[in-house]
Subunit: 485 residues, 2 copies
């Protein structure tokens, strides 16, 4: 059987993308399609995650899943159907999600007695099961995660960033005390932060959401927010302190050691395929994707430059590939005939492969290898014997460079606003995120939206050193305000 052909054979596909600086929206769509990360489906708002995009998701899953398990979480699977009556048990929850729910009304040829929601999130069904499973304080904590598809009916969609169906993980835990639940909430926020900054090379701002922006049904929501190059924030992961809201709605009680029957304290936390959209948006350039080495499906591609069908170069290329694979580099050899090296270079640049390894007749003679970095475009010739060590070092360097470049953007696009005028200028003219003081009132919060289409992304730790930029009264919180995806 032949090897699968997972690459592009369609040359017209490789035409230039819209420049990122010209139209970031069109650039994004161009890159997602041309790098074969995803494709549109015949059902509006749904996407196909193609093998190259899914391989990135598998790398994300592998790293996160290991972190979750290290902290004692176990995976499980809950049904995607939630009876309508369950969804309505927690009042805020149903109000928040009802407008986005897809409903199943028929099974086979029969109409259902009660219509079923396709899970937009699983607090309701999991809360119901926890009420059956938890009897004693000895059953606590319950630390469960699931990897699943969820559906939220969206009007305006974009591959990865906002789709009707998406993939995610959702952790759901139950604890004996509020303190322990809060510890879990902050611990998982930390896991997300470490993963996104460390593995995806995306710098973040993190903190508590305002009551208006919290998860429907939560006491408090904590978020990690990434800033896109157009100054819009992208909520990239959330961790919710659900208090006793869901345990009261679903009767999750346990017999404590003091003989009292008490409501458990629950949390939930989730991260989705949306994070792939953030990775594309933050790091990509006019040549296509630039993927962080820690999650890149292909970390290095070896391309032999063959003249007159000489086999020496191909044999050497295979050797380089094997040596890199033996050093645990995710390496791919592209020795296809019928494609010029330059065409291949463009293809792997589009796919965001961090490092290109070129080998030609001259390199063979000089006992050298040519390396080209995707992040900087830098080209270097190194002695053959130094290949593995150099590639391993470059993986670290490229990861760091991508982070540093994104951190520079975050820094430049976070603008301290001391007045409402400075706030609107930050959002509208500077396409930035504003860092400002706020009195805590919903009325003032509403003005961010009304005047600049922006929302409070999260509270921040900075000093509360000015009055509220909206009303001028004493401020309670220092907050990040931005438009959002």
């Amino acid at each position: 059987m032949n090897k699968p052909n997972t690459q592009n054979t369609n040359k017209k596909n490789m035409e230039a993308v819209t420049p990122k600086s010209e139209d970031i929206s069109r650039w994004y769509t161009d890159v997602v399609l041309k790098a074969r990360m995803a494709d549109y489906s015949p059902v509006k708002g749904c996407m196909i995650i193609r093998p190259y995009g899914y391989a990135l998701w598998e790398n994300i899953q592998r790293i996160l899943d290991a972190e979750f398990k290290k902290l004692g979480h176990q995976n499980a699977y809950f049904p995607m159907f939630i009876p309508e009556s369950f969804l309505t048990k927690e009042a805020e929850h149903v109000e928040g999600f009802a407008p986005e729910v897809a409903w199943v009304t028929h099974g086979g040829r029969e109409e259902l007695e009660e219509r079923l929601a396709i899970r937009p999130t699983s607090e309701a069904i999991i809360g119901h099961m926890y009420s059956k499973w938890i009897e004693s304080y000895r059953d606590l904590p319950v630390l469960i995660n699931q990897w699943a598809n969820v559906v939220r009916w969206e009007k305006v969609t974009r591959p990865f960033l906002r789709t009707t169906e998406f993939l995610w993980q959702e952790g759901h835990t139950a604890h004996r005390t509020h303190e322990e639940a809060q510890e879990e909430v902050m611990q998982m926020l930390g896991v997300y932060r470490k993963f996104v900054e460390g593995s995806l090379a995306i710098p973040l701002v993190t903190g508590e959401k305002s009551q208006k922006e919290k998860f429907a049904g939560a006491l408090n929501t904590y978020t990690i927010e990434a800033l896109m190059p157009d100054g819009q924030a992208l909520q990239s992961g959330t961790s919710h302190d659900l208090g006793q809201n869901f345990s009261k709605a679903f009767d999750i009680r346990f017999l404590d050691s003091d003989g009292d029957r008490k409501y458990a304290w629950t949390t939930s936390w989730g991260m989705s395929t949306r994070i792939i959209g953030a990775t594309i948006m933050v790091h990509g350039d006019d040549r296509g994707l630039r993927l962080p080495p820690k999650v890149a499906p292909i970390q290095a591609v070896v391309i032999p430059i063959v003249y007159k069908d000489s086999q020496d170069v191909i044999i050497k290329a295979r050797e380089l590939m094997k040596r890199l694979a033996a050093s645990d580099i995710r390496v791919h050899l592209d020795d296809r005939g019928g494609f010029k090296p330059g065409w291949k270079y463009s293809e792997y640049e589009m796919m965001g492969v961090p490092l290109r390894v070129e080998i030609g007749q001259k390199d063979l003679e000089k006992n050298q290898v040519c390396l080209v970095r995707r992040d900087t475009g830098e080209k270097m010739f190194i002695p053959d014997a130094e290949l593995e060590a150099t590639v391993l070092r470059l993986m670290e360097e490229i990861q760091q460079t991508l982070f540093d470049q994104a951190a520079e953007i975050l820094k430049n696009k976070t603008v301290r606003a001391l007045s409402f005028e400075e706030f609107t200028a930050a959002i509208r003219e500077k396409q930035s995120m504003a860092d400002l003081c706020w009195c805590g009132e919903a009325e003032c919060e509403a003005k961010f939206k009304a005047e600049a289409g922006a929302t409070i992304r999260c509270f921040n730790d900075g000093q509360v050193d000015t009055p509220c930029v909206v009303c001028g009264k004493p401020a309670q919180k220092r907050v990040f305000v931005a438009r959002a995806y």
Copy 2:
């Protein structure tokens, strides 16, 4: 934060199960619930896969996924919504699946223009995408797999064995020639057989399905069938030669090297969480599960036998646990206080943990460890220094014993039938699978069902050495016939 409590603290839960020989159906349900493999959901026919059951599924996924990838397959993700008009494009396909489809009719607060099927299988949506992606013979083969949930509306359900929503993998491939597609079909059947026999220790019969029993829309279906102790067969994985049926329905064409535009040849193949039901059913006994070591979430449990709070034994138990973990044994230490050793023994027997490692004061003094096999109940004392080597050896032995015991049942319950009377006796009186000759006519095939509730499970390689047991005319096929789950 405390360690999660994933075990039973509810003593009444551990009451004896219904004996397997007395009522295998009740035994099955008792064991699934008491071993915490799964639980019932509030939505009829759906199940919750609990952490212990899901850990088994993760082990199954890990082994199968690696096999698929070794053979060049890549994972992807396709939407679970399929427009009704797509499902109807392949005539046999829609006829086969329409009675089992769950329909989404509303998104958010609006009624949809066209209702959406929740995938019962994904040939339709994947066929549509392949028609977009495949242009040239150079794009072939396409070798894609997806891990996903699917829904088939069932009237009578049982955890794992038959549920409305279940998890599975579905491979979908497209090829240049029929020969290559057929090679893929047989290759994947071989992967399934090797996995189920080798890792799940379940012996199989395998072969082609009759036209009546094939997948709706396929040219031919090949199956692996396991035999349950009650003589009923369980279809455990299927591999379909779809011919050009779907490529014609969805216009999957490629430009061949001769300049002709040709229809591709496609295949699909799937295995689901149903295989967990087979594993429980085949190996379990009156004490609970007996899990094959290769997939058991816990391969060995270490239980310290502590008198008067002596710490020596607990310290030693921890050492044994660490040594086994270092030898890549999936080991669990149960050092919980407040539970008698005998109670713990019953619990891990229920969970089917292949090996129990006991350590008490006397063992410490004698520098020995006590091992108890779950499969045979055999108890042995071994020198401390031989722990790792012995446990590794026993994993192999237990795996083999489970296979051998199941193979003995398959052998005893496969009855050669030379006449229709012998066939009905095999099914009804001997609760067995019949091995017989058949003329190939649908009318005779229908009699297996009408007279004994049985169906042709698959063709077999045995000699066609008698007339058809139904009509007495010359036989065409030697077949296995049985009732089925």
